[in-house]
Symmetry: C5
Subunit: 100 residues, 5 copies
């Protein structure tokens, strides 16, 4: 799963069937240490996340496991709102070689 921060919303009236009513949020992916690591993307949210929340996102077809009956064509799902992140060792990848 990937850490990220919710930075906005997307609206689309014309959609694939079965996707009506889903909430689509824009997530900026980040390393656990807090640096932005790639371009922002769109994730489905069902747990009440909002702009500014730090979240965990499942990417790829596993996101569709949110429904066990009818699998939906979605590839990113917010699965948790982060309370705290505890990195005990290792520098952020972006900052160069790890020190252990």
């Amino acid at each position: 799963m990937q850490i990220g921060t919710v930075i906005g919303n997307v609206w689309a009236t014309r959609k694939e069937d079965h996707l009506k009513g889903l909430k689509f949020l824009i997530v900026q992916p980040e390393s656990p240490q807090g640096s932005a690591i790639d371009f922002a993307y769109i994730a489905v949210d069902r747990i009440g996340a909002g702009v500014g929340d730090k979240v965990m996102v499942t990417r790829g077809s596993a996101a569709a496991n949110m429904t066990s009956d009818l699998r939906l064509p979605i590839d990113a799902l917010i699965i948790g709102i982060v309370d705290s992140i505890d990195v005990e060792r290792g520098d952020d990848f972006a900052k160069g070689t790890r020190d252990d």
Copy 2:
């Protein structure tokens, strides 16, 4: 899901069975802030998107969830035509470090 703009069409007469009749569009992937982020690719469209439309695309095997009975060998599906994108915070990744 990824934001993108439809920029063209692809035609292929000789195809895998079960793919006859599907519409294949060329999508230029973009960040929610609007910059091109990778090479264009081909996505299936069933909701009537056309050249110039800003769309949401599901990539990977979740695209095949568009049909619940017979799963098709497709890896990109246009799932929505974007009405509006609201980025409330954060610079575009391409433009450098985020400001929050």
Copy 3:
């Protein structure tokens, strides 16, 4: 799906069961505008593609949807032989910023 050109063949006598008889082709992935975009890889072909053909390839586990009964361990499938590609707007990503 990805555009590519078939550039060769791979032979492997010792294989996972259920893969006997499949044809494995080498595909050079390309942007719809025609530039090489990554290293070549191996794709399964069932529709009679050959060296020099421009093809559409489905990558990832959706490739295994080519068989509905027994799913095979393959991650790339040629799904179409391209007749024509029509890019109506947008420069190739490799060439810099898009012009719209």
Copy 4:
């Protein structure tokens, strides 16, 4: 699968249903030769891994195969704690061209 070292923990009280009780660890991905190769990410652990352990991680929707009945929306699973790695030939990719 990918080699990595567990470097921390993530806590999230508000979560998708069915994910309660799972342990989420932060993993720094590494080459088998030991160099950090990308940003750290979050993986589910059920086998008792802890900070400092070298682990094998399955990424993507195959991680959800850990449960055969109800598939969960997770995309990374620690599948083993590494006893030893034996690289018999080849330089680390990061260090330049291989020597064979």
Copy 5:
């Protein structure tokens, strides 16, 4: 699928259930033309590959299709030992622009 060369082994006593008895090999991914293209990773082998063998690898959740009954949490499977590779046209991507 990806071409690669087996360069070593990984041992892990403590593992997810159902993975006991599987053989885990280290694979250096290569272009069909023979250049190393990324960091090495771990793949499951059931067909008797060994260090020095050139192999075809299926990556992602399709690797789990090796078993049709119980799907395992693995994301890379050696599916063939390469007899020969015939690249009829196109330079290696690493070496610059293709010549056709």
